[in-house]
């Protein structure tokens, strides 16, 4: 029997390159903890990321990792999960990576209900490129590329992904890595597409969103029935508070399950190379 794994089994030798005080440290902690709690074998985990400060997360784990290009973590993760369903597959990235350049991919992994856990570190700004406006940035706030104030309303990732039909939708906060670890753990355990929106400050470029400001605006969900999609949408659209916790969870066949059915069905007439050629003779 494999001896109990320790936190060190998940940490790589690379020192995180994030600025002191960056929220992403908390997320990394949450990821370590979730894996530890589940006693995952790091060799059986693949973490995929896109580009951004947040996209560096996989380097700091001892899992198989793929640092893909900007916005493409999800389709890459999908390829991995389909090719090897045995793997636990995580995708991680920022708000820009996920909802700007990569935004077109989310509806399609969500509706497939593919068993990937997707963690978005939302700092309402482009960190790595030094402070431009992000899709989650609020209206009117100023940024280097919106010096007259943002002219667009920020998107609401939770509402969006709910409407995409995701089967596990949660929100965490990098200031509470314990709760976050729990949300991630549940997401990994969930058989299907899990989306975890993480509020994660960028103290270097976003002076408005801080650990303190987030604490003031957020509250843990209470007495919410996570199987009720409309209530989940209500909660997401609630203009009085930002809720943390599980918004929605629903059992549905995962994409790999459906593929298994296809393979079962197809294997009634299994492929054979000579037969294939014969068909054209």
């Amino acid at each position: 029997m494999q001896p109990q794994r320790t936190a060190n089994d998940y940490k790589s030798d690379l020192k995180p390159v994030w600025c002191p005080g960056c929220g992403d440290f908390g997320v990394l902690k949450g990821v370590y903890e979730a894996m530890l709690n589940l006693q995952l074998d790091p060799d059986k985990v693949a973490i995929v990321s896109g580009i951004g400060c947040s996209g560096r997360l996989p380097y700091f784990t001892k899992c198989y990792s793929f640092h893909s290009v900007h916005g493409r973590s999800l389709p890459t993760a999908m390829g991995i999960k389909l090719a090897n369903p045995e793997l636990t597959v995580l995708a991680a990235g920022g708000d820009g990576d996920g909802f700007a350049i990569g935004g077109g991919h989310i509806p399609h992994v969500a509706r497939k209900n593919i068993d990937i856990t997707y963690i978005v570190m939302d700092n309402e700004i482009y960190g790595l490129t030094k402070g431009q406006v992000a899709p989650t940035s609020p209206l009117s706030q100023s940024y280097s590329t919106a010096p007259f104030g943002n002219l667009e309303s920020g998107i609401d990732p939770v509402a969006l992904v709910l409407s995409y039909g995701a089967t596990y939708v949660a929100r965490g906060f990098s200031g509470d890595p314990g709760m976050l670890a729990e949300l991630i753990q549940k997401g990994i355990e969930h058989k299907g597409f899990s989306f975890i929106h993480v509020l994660s400050p960028c103290p270097t470029f976003n002076k408005v969103v801080t650990f303190k400001s987030i604490r003031a605006k957020t509250q843990a969900v209470h007495g919410h029935d996570p199987t009720d999609l409309r209530k989940a949408l209500d909660l997401a659209l609630d203009s009085n508070a930002i809720h943390l916790g599980v918004f929605y969870q629903m059992e549905k066949k995962s994409y790999n399950d459906r593929w298994q059915e296809v393979w079962d069905q197809a294997s009634q007439k299994p492929g054979n190379l000579e037969d294939l050629l014969q068909r054209y003779a």
Binding site: P75, M78, G79, I80, N84, G271
Partner: protein
Amino acid sequence: MKKEVLVRVGGEGGEGVISTGEILTQALARSSYDVFTYRTYPAEIKGGYAMFQVRISTQGPVPSAGENPDLLVLFNREAYENNASLIEKDTLLIYDSQEFEPQEACFPYAIPLGKIAREQIGNPLTKNIVCLGAISQILGAPMDRVREILRSKFASKGDLLIEKNLLALETGWKYVQENFPARPEFRLESPSRKKDDIVVSGNQAICLGAVVAGCRAMFGYPITPASDILEWMSRELPRFQGIVVQTEDEIAALSATIGASYAGKKSMTATSGPGFSLMTELMGLASMAEIPVVVVDSQRSGPSTGMPTKTEQSDLNLAVYGAHGEGPRIVIAPMDVEDCFYQAVQAFNMAEKYQLPVVLLTDQSLSQRTQTIPRPILSQISVVQRSRAIHLNGEALKRYAITEDGVSPVSLPGDPGGRYIATGLEHDEEGNPQYDPEIHEQMMAKRFKKLEKAVEEPRFVAQYGAESGEIGIICWGSTAGVVREAVEEAQAEGLSVGTLIPKMLYPVRSREISQFVSCFRKILVPELNFTGQLATLIRTQVSVDLISYTKCQGVPFTPVEILAKIRELHELGGDSLERQKYAATANS
């Protein structure tokens, strides 16, 4: 009796032009005739001019689509106008007498196709099958085969429709027998031998090759003329426990292909120009992260949306240079349908051996061309597997180890102790980000070393005709067959001509090309594009004066065009003609 016959059917898209030709082709091919088809159809779903042509031989492999039809079938006036120039004294012309009257034709067969279908069969959609009966009568096609194919084609549509179609077939057959004199000169001879052949399209051959090579994952997005690869794989790959996914776009398709390959499945995607353009960034990622993938680009007429159903050889530049920065890839172009099969296998082999993206370049005319080809002998095909790292012994895997040939050991997610990070950032041997000037240069060299080996891989160049002499022709892809036919005819005329067909286009096979060009006085490079992309590419590596001969019309060369060019160059003679002149103007 004819040893070879060329049948062309023209009409409006939706009139059954393509299926008339396809059924005829199948029936003849299954009766051991050799076939070679060519089709062109409108980019719109209904309406517009569609054409199907099949060249049938009793003498063995057909090298090209051929020239003027022996038997021309025209459904409407537009089709007539498009084909009038091809009508010769000895053309047999079947046409719908209620649609138009031809000006001249040697053997006019006016048949009220539409009327027969409506009135005698009671289904106007059977017009093309009436016509098929007429053609079959004239050629003496094996009617049992034709019926067999009709039956299986309509199997899912119910018995009534099958009966209607069989009736239409007989009616057309009889109409000719009763109304026209017997013309034995149009009858096909029996095929000379029974062979172990198969009849497939270029795209089908690619699919078969991919499955044989071990491809078990495909991600793609529909696009003409590559969609049927995705469709074929969707049907067949699950039977091999494989995965086929239609993604939301081509970017997702190549991302997922890369992901699946990283996780250990041989993976591919297939697209055409617009989709291939969208994959540009990810081609660089596959090269940098050293993930084997195969990208099929079935070229169509560009630029931009261009002419989506027309053929062109104009994505070579993009295949070779398409990505920011410099990441090695291999570009392979099969030269005919048989080669589609073998080069698909080779594409996977090269991808796995060198851990990089391989582009398989075909085009509309080759992808959608059906040819009789020798059945591959599976036991003789060798398939390369990725070189896995073993004995990791707790040490970190040097996934990007600098080795003599640039190829590094690899692990697959799930392999105990093989953990590494695949990354698009510049990195050290373990995959950790590294921006040190020397390491960047070393890693660039490591990655490009693979091409030095790859360019020495055997069997990526074909050569036909004279081995030295007056005119050497270098060509690629779908143009090869036409050139081979023209070369044979030219040789029969006593002209000294040979051709070299590089199938690996990048890295450039400089050694073979230099050797070839040194054996001829003039070098002609015919290709279906505007700027002469292969000629340009060769000039980057081989210092030689090439005569670039381009055609950019969305349709293939004909053997006569190439032959005319050969004759012209021959007549110009060697001394009066300075190579430099051509070189200087070739690209202007």
